[in-house]
């Protein structure tokens, strides 16, 4: 693998990790709002229990993404900065309001309803804005003269809405499956049932919107659709993961007292599904970072810097992985945390 390909693969990996973590994080915010009025279920509080300690860590992945893009592809920053000024700034404002409210709420145990509203609404808006970056990068929405984003064109184009529908459906689908698994880990079968139901309903919808997006893509980015069709094999594998995962939501677990479905298996397979599909999308997007202005080859940093960046990544990850493991044990595994009322 040559240098630019290695670098873009790393960036892809960060995008993917943030997409999954972000889906679960923002989705949990949405579900927490959705169930805030229905005090008879634990769904809202389960979502919140997961959210409190994790959002800070999820947020760091967003910064990691931006920093690695600057480090690996400095020549791309001008185009990115110009094109993403508006969605980027909006995301920053919403993200700040959301984070501040989460901490404020945890500290004083007040503004519960405001918090639920804020984290629910931003839990939909932020992912929507982030997903809207995909059609921008695929081309057709950047003014060739000024390099600025044509906001009006972006938000009147049907393909943008197809992307949005696909993105939001995926977010809610993934977070529902995750929270189903989290509820089972907390031995809360009734909440499990609630989230399983959502996962079952949303599953087919994600597939449908994905197909719709590919169909509408031809309006602005024919090149990308053609490239995507070349990646058929990956998409077939991805769909296979989805079908098995989806079926596993109906299988009976070994423990006869539990309800239908094996959420851990389902969630794992759905992650594999999205990994395969987004890998294929990434491959199809090559050689362009931003169509038609920037290619991966043309934006890569100098070899000396790249070498140092890669070394620092390896050292950093070696230090961090035990930290992540400890964190995971404390908040996603420890029964004392999962079972608190």
């Amino acid at each position: 693998m040559n240098d630019p390909l290695l670098a873009i693969s790393l960036v892809w990996l960060f995008v993917f990790i943030y997409a999954i973590l972000g889906s679960v994080d923002f989705g949990a915010g949405f579900w927490s709002m959705f169930y805030t009025r229905k005090r008879d279920t634990q769904a809202g509080s389960i979502a919140n229990r997961f959210l409190s300690p994790t959002w800070e860590v999820t947020n760091v992945f967003l910064v990691l993404l931006v920093v690695s893009l600057v480090g690996f592809f400095p020549a791309a920053i001008y185009t990115f900065g110009m094109a993403l000024l508006i969605p980027g700034s909006l995301v920053l404002i919403l993200l700040t309001i959301r984070s501040a409210f989460m901490v404020f709420h945890y500290s004083v145990q007040r503004f519960r309803d405001t918090l639920d509203l804020v984290s629910g609404v931003t839990g939909v808006l932020i992912p929507a804005l982030l997903v809207s970056i995909l059609p921008i990068l695929a081309g057709g929405f950047i003014d060739p003269d000024t390099h600025m984003l044509q906001v009006g064109k972006l938000f009147t184009s049907p393909v943008t809405y197809a992307y949005l529908a696909f993105g939001l459906a995926s977010e809610l689908f993934l977070s529902a499956t995750f929270l189903a698994d989290y509820s089972r880990e907390a031995d809360d079968e009734s909440t499990y049932q609630v989230f399983r139901k959502h996962a079952v309903r949303l599953g087919p919808f994600t597939l449908l919107t994905a197909v719709l997006t590919t169909l509408l893509m031809g309006q602005e980015a024919v090149w990308l659709r053609e490239h995507l069709l070349d990646q058929r094999l990956w998409f077939i594998l991805s769909s296979l993961c989805f079908f098995i995962g989806y079926l596993s939501l109906f299988w009976r677990p070994r423990d006869g007292n539990k309800a239908r479905g094996i959420p851990r298996l389902a969630f794992t397979l759905f992650i594999a599904q999205y990994a395969l599909a987004s890998f294929a999308y990434g491959r199809a997007h090559l050689p362009y970072l931003v169509y038609p202005y920037l290619t991966v080859e043309g934006s890569i940093t100098n070899p000396e810097m790249l070498r140092y960046l890669l070394i620092s990544f390896m050292i950093g990850m070696a230090i961090l992985v035990p930290g992540f493991y400890y964190f995971w044990r404390l908040f996603l595994k420890d029964k004392r945390y999962l079972h608190q009322q």
Partner: protein
């Protein structure tokens, strides 16, 4: 206002806002760590209580520090894309490593805040140590990038192209050691004085129990000790930072001093305003020979004046006032801690410091925070008109996008909202968790393991 001015105002506001929380994010964990250690030494439960309460405050601050840091990080690329191109080519390394420090800070802060009740004392102190380490390392790493903007090294240019990049040379650029140490010790100083200020303010209340007075007294004297030592360290190291200016950024030193004529035996100017018509500093107190001596440890050192530099490269002159204010506050804080400790030592048998002194001390938190702000504005404005000294002008680095005014208004409103929110939440939290309640809890669970 033109777009460049708006971009500078917007980014400057973002930084000025973030720096409050970032500085406390370095300073407070340091104080928490010290009080946890003092508890281990003395066995006085008041010190764990301080650690616990400051952690709560820190958790609230972190809720603003993390997103405001995210804003600064992303806004760099959005507002200064041409600058970030250069950053990516030459000085990407500290940004990258900073992220890992940020990760460590966020991970262990979550652990320390949300899992404190499930941790052993050793893991708890280890966690807060890692939070302090992560915060401190972040500050040092980001300062490396900022120092590089002042003294850019580690690359060559030919035909406007960057060549022969040496990432390590860029990382360890000439002003990095002094600047990083300056940021670190001044943040520890500020964390200490913010606590000293609050404790003094609490002590001014007339109606409170003996135990509360003792508690605030301990917090006050401890933070004055840390703050005094750190302000001394800041001043000593600031001197080294000044000598770096003399060697590498003579325009900035000249502007900081309002110094126009190149000369040996140059005087140090305190106060005064620059009169651009006459090209001199008016109304300043001048200490003969002192500037030469401070710049190079010799009275006959030749200090370059602004008249030796082309006018379009002159920094703005308000940096002279900012510089004086920063140094003045630092000196004042140093004297105040010393005076307080002397009075405390002489009045051994009486408990409180005199009220007039408490009144003055209650302002030290705000004063030290102002000194931090003045210092950052000084170093960044003093670098103007350059983004990267003698390589890239600020006007070249800014985005070509228009309509920044709207964002300026939105972000300023956001900062005001968050600032008010933070204060309200702090007040509300500490009102609902008074000291008496905490002591009752301690009485209910009197044993706290020590290591």
């Amino acid at each position: 206002m033109d777009e460049l001015t708006i971009a500078r105002s917007l980014f400057g506001s973002s930084l000025a806002f973030h720096i409050i929380f970032a500085t406390l994010g370095v300073g407070l964990p340091f104080m928490i760590l010290i009080s946890e250690i003092i508890y281990q030494v003395t066995g006085d439960r008041d010190y764990t209580l301080m650690a616990k309460r400051w952690t709560k405050a820190q958790a609230i601050l972190l809720g603003v520090a993390i997103p405001s840091g995210t804003i600064v990080g992303v806004q760099l690329s959005l507002l200064w894309p041409r600058f970030m191109e250069v950053v990516g080519e030459v000085i990407a390394l500290p940004f990258q490593i900073e992220l890992f420090a940020f990760f460590i800070e966020a991970l262990f802060m979550s652990i320390y805040v949300y899992a404190a009740d499930r941790l052993s004392p050793v893991s708890r102190i280890a966690s807060v140590f890692l939070v302090a380490l992560g915060g401190g390392a972040s500050a040092v790493l980001i300062t490396s990038a900022n120092a590089w903007m002042n003294t850019p090294t580690g690359f060559e240019t030919s035909d406007g192209q960057i060549t022969n990049v040496q990432p390590m040379q860029a990382f360890f650029n000439p002003s990095f050691p002094s600047a990083a140490l300056h940021v670190l010790v001044s943040a520890w100083m500020t964390g200490a004085f913010v606590i000293a200020g609050l404790a003094a303010w609490r002590l001014l209340r007339r109606k409170q129990g003996y135990r509360e007075v003792r508690y605030h007294q301990k917090a006050l004297m401890m933070s004055l000790a840390v703050g005094g030592i750190m302000s001394l360290a800041t001043a000593w190291n600031g001197h080294a930072a000044g000598q770096v200016l003399y060697e590498y950024q003579p325009e900035k030193l000249a502007a900081a001093e309002g110094h126009f004529e190149t000369q040996a035996y140059a005087p140090l100017a305190l106060g005064g305003v620059v009169d651009l018509e006459k090209g001199e500093l008016v109304g300043a107190i001048k200490i003969p020979w002192m500037l030469s001596f401070l710049a190079d440890n010799r009275f006959d050192a030749v200090v370059k004046g602004l008249n030796d530099f082309p006018r379009e490269n002159w920094p703005p002159f308000y940096v002279h006032t900012l510089f004086n204010l920063m140094v003045g506050i630092g000196t004042l804080l140093m004297i105040l801690s010393l005076v307080s400790w002397i009075i405390k030592w002489r009045r051994r048998h009486r408990e409180a410091l005199p009220r007039w002194l408490l009144w003055i001390l209650s302002s030290t938190g705000i004063l030290s925070m102002l000194a931090i702000e003045f210092g950052w504005i000084f170093t960044c404005s003093g670098r103007q008109p350059w983004t990267v000294y003698h390589y890239q002008r600020t006007a070249e680095s800014v985005t070509r996008a228009t309509g920044l005014g709207l964002w300026f208004v939105l972000f300023i409103s956001l900062y005001i909202l968050l600032f008010i929110g933070t204060i309200l939440v702090m007040r509300s939290y500490f009102k609902r968790h008074p000291l008496q309640d905490e002591w009752k809890q301690i009485q209910a669970h009197p044993t706290e393991r020590r290591w």
